[in-house]
Amino acid sequence: MDITGRKLFVKALQEEGVDTIFGYPGGTVTDLFDELYKQDGINVVLPRHEQGLIHEAEGYARSTGKTGVCLVTSGPGATNIITGLADAHYDSIPLVCFTGQVPLSLIGNDAFQEVDIVGMTRSITKYGVTVQRREDLGRIIKMAFHIAATGRPGPVLIDLPKNIQTTAGPAEYPSSVQIRGYKPNENVHVGQLKKAYKLLRTAKRPLILAGGGIHIARANDLLLKFVEKTRIPVVTTVMGNGAIPTGNSLYVGNSGMHGRYAANIAVSECDVLFSIGTRFNDRITGDLNEFAPKAKIVHIDMDTASISRNVVVDVPVVSDAKLALEKLLEWAESKDTEAWLNQIAAWEQTNPLAMRRDHGMTPQMIFEHVNRTFGEAIYVTDVGQHQMWACQYLELDSWHQLITSGGLGTMGFGLPAAIGASLGNPGKEVVCFCGDGGMQMNIQEMATAVTQGTPVIVCVFNNYYLGMVRQMQQLFYGKRYEATCLRRRRTCPATCKGPNPACPPYTPDFVALAESYGAYGIRVEREEEIQAALDEARTHKDAPTIIEFMISSDEIVLPMVKGGNPNSEMILK
C-alpha cells in the first residue's frame, strides 16, 4: 500500500535508528513536523536559531559517532545552516540535513522562502539533492545516511519539496543501496603500508603526526598500542588532540601555528614523519617549503584527495586509520628511540608550555582546575584564543573528550555543540569553553539548553576583546585595535591604547543574562574562586551554568608561528 512522503520520512528515520532530530519548523516542513508529532521514538529538539541547530547536530554527531539529523524549513531556514554545513564538511562530521522546499511547481518562480539551497551548498556538502520524484524518496534518504557516515564522513543535504511530502508513493524503505560512483575504500594496500613501516623501522628520529582521522576511525586504542610497542613519539593536529592520552610520556604536544615548541622542532628535525588522518592544513604546516625538511613523509588517509595535495609525500597509503593500524600492529616491534626521546625532552625543557603566575588569574590556571575537577567529561570549545589554550592545557585521555571546530574555525560553535553533546550523552558532564565574543554568536541557544535541561557548564573567558585578532593586532599591526574591543562605544576616543579606568562597562552582563534564561551564572575574578565555581556548577543538574572568568586582555597564545612562516620560527615571548 502506498504511503505519503511525510510518512516515509518518519519511517526512514526510525529504520535508520535516529533517536534525536534537531528541527526548526516553517511553512514547507509543517507536514513533516506533524508526522513527528504522531510518533514517540524520536526526540525532536527545538533550538532557537538554525545555525545553533546544526552545530547542536554536529556536537551530537561528534560526541556519539552517530549521524546528526537536521530538519529546517526552506529559504532562511536553509541558508541559516550553511555555516554549519561548511563546518561539518571541513571536520568530516556525518550529518543528514533535510531542508523544506517550495512545491516543485513553484521552483524557479522566486516563490516565498524559495532558495536554491542545493546549488548554494554544492561545494560544502558531501552530497546534495532535491527530491524530484516521490518514488525516489526512500532511496535518496537511504543514500544520504550511507554517504554521510561512510568513507570520509561529511554532511549530506536533502531538499524536500512540499508536494513530495504529501504525495503518496511506495512504502518501502530500502535496506541497502548501491551507488555506482561511490565506493569508499574499505581495504588497505599492504604493500604500500609495508613500505611505510619499513621507513619507520629504519628511522633514527621517527615521529607520528596524528590527525582527526584517528578519532573518526576510533583508532585511539590501536594507536596507543602501536606507539607503546614501538616507542615512537607522537605530535597531534588540533583535530587530533587526544589521539593518545596527553599524559602519555610519548606524547609531545600539538604541532602547528600554536603548537608546543618541542613538537614543532621535532617535526622540523625528524627523519620520518609518519602521519595518519590529517590533511596538512596550513595551520599545521606553516611555510610548506620548510615543513619537516629532513623527513621522509608517510601519509595514511582515507581520502585520496587529501594525499599529496599540500605536502608531497614519499609513501602514500589510502586507508582508514583503524585498518592501517591493525595491520601495523601485526608487524610492530620495539625500537630504541631513547636518544631521540631525550632530545625532544631537552627541547621541551628549553621552552616549556607555561603562562606567568606572578599576577592574577590566567587561562592556564583555569584549565589546571578543570583538569583536576572533571574525570570523564566531554570538553567543547568555541573558536579563538581559549580554543588554543584548551588544546595546549587540557588533559585528554579518551577519544570523545575534545570537540572543536578545527577546519572552518566557526565562532558560535561552542555552546550549541556542547548542548548537542549533552543530548547525545545524557548523564555525562559537558564543559564548554568559549570567548566572550563567540559566546554572543549563538547566545540564544541558552534557551535551548534550559528547555532541554542539558546541564552544560559554559566557561566564558572574558577579556573584553576578540582576543585572537587582538593578538595579531598587538604583534603584527602596531597595536591598532580596530574593531576588536567589545567594550568600545561611540563615545570612546577615536584611537585607544587599550584598557583604562575610563572604559565603559561590558555588555552584556553574562551572569544576569544566564539568570534571565533560567540558567545559573557565576563570575570569577580571582584564582582562589575558580575551584568553588566549578564545584558549584557541577551541582546544577537541571540547567546550564555560565561561569564568567574575568581574564586579562594582555594574555596571548604562545608559542605562535606567524601565518606563512616556517614552524621552527616561533614567537615564544
Partner: protein
C-alpha cells in the same frame, strides 16, 4: 602548465554539470573546455574536459573528480591514443568574389565544408582537432576583415586501432 584531457562518466542528473564546473571555479583550476552529452546508456553522461595545469594540480583534479558521488569514472586521456574532434562554425563576412574564392581554397586545404553562402559571405563547417581549428581561425583572421566564430569544445574517445589524434 600544459593542456590535459579527461573523459568523465557522470550520472545524467540535474546539477551534476554545475557540480563539476563548480569544482573548477571553486578551486581555481584552469578549465579550458568542457563538453557534455549522454552516452549509449541514457542514465550516464560523458564529459570531455580540457584543463591547463601542472602535474601536481592535475593529479589533484582527478582525485577531486573521483570522490564526487555523481562521478562514475575518471579517464585520464594523457598519452592515450584517442580520436578527438571539435565542431566549429566560422562565418566570413563582407568578402569580395575573389575573397570568396580564397575561402573555398582554404576550405579545400583544411578539408572542411562550405555549408552556406551569401552575396558577400560564406559559412565554413569544420570538424577538426582543436589545434587545427585554432590554426584555421588564425588564418581566417589574418586574411579577412570580419569573421564570426562559434565552437563546440572538443569531444574525445579512445582509439580502437590507430594512434592518430
Amino acid at each position: 602548465m600544459k593542456n590535459r584531457w579527461i573523459a568523465l562518466y557522470v550520472e545524467n542528473q540535474v546539477g551534476v554539470l554545475a557540480k563539476v564546473s563548480g569544482l573548477f571555479s571553486g578551486k581555481a583550476y584552469n578549465l579550458q573546455s568542457l563538453t557534455v552529452g549522454t552516452t549509449e546508456d541514457e542514465t550516464i553522461s560523458r564529459m570531455t574536459i580540457c584543463v591547463a595545469s601542472d602535474d601536481i594540480t592535475f593529479e589533484q583534479i582527478k582525485k577531486q573528480l573521483n570522490r564526487m558521488v555523481e562521478v562514475i569514472k575518471v579517464i585520464d586521456l594523457t598519452g592515450v591514443p584517442i580520436h578527438m574532434k571539435e565542431i566549429l562554425f566560422a562565418k566570413v563576412l563582407g568578402i569580395s568574389a575573389d575573397e570568396k574564392a580564397e575561402v573555398f581554397r582554404i576550405a579545400q586545404v583544411f578539408g572542411v565544408e562550405v555549408t552556406d553562402i551569401g552575396s558577400d559571405s560564406a559559412l565554413l563547417e569544420c570538424k577538426l582537432t582543436e589545434r587545427r581549428n585554432n590554426e584555421l581561425i588564425a588564418l581566417l583572421r589574418s586574411k579577412f576583415r570580419r569573421i564570426e566564430v562559434v565552437r563546440g569544445g572538443a569531444v574525445a574517445i579512445e582509439s580502437i586501432s590507430t594512434s592518430c589524434r
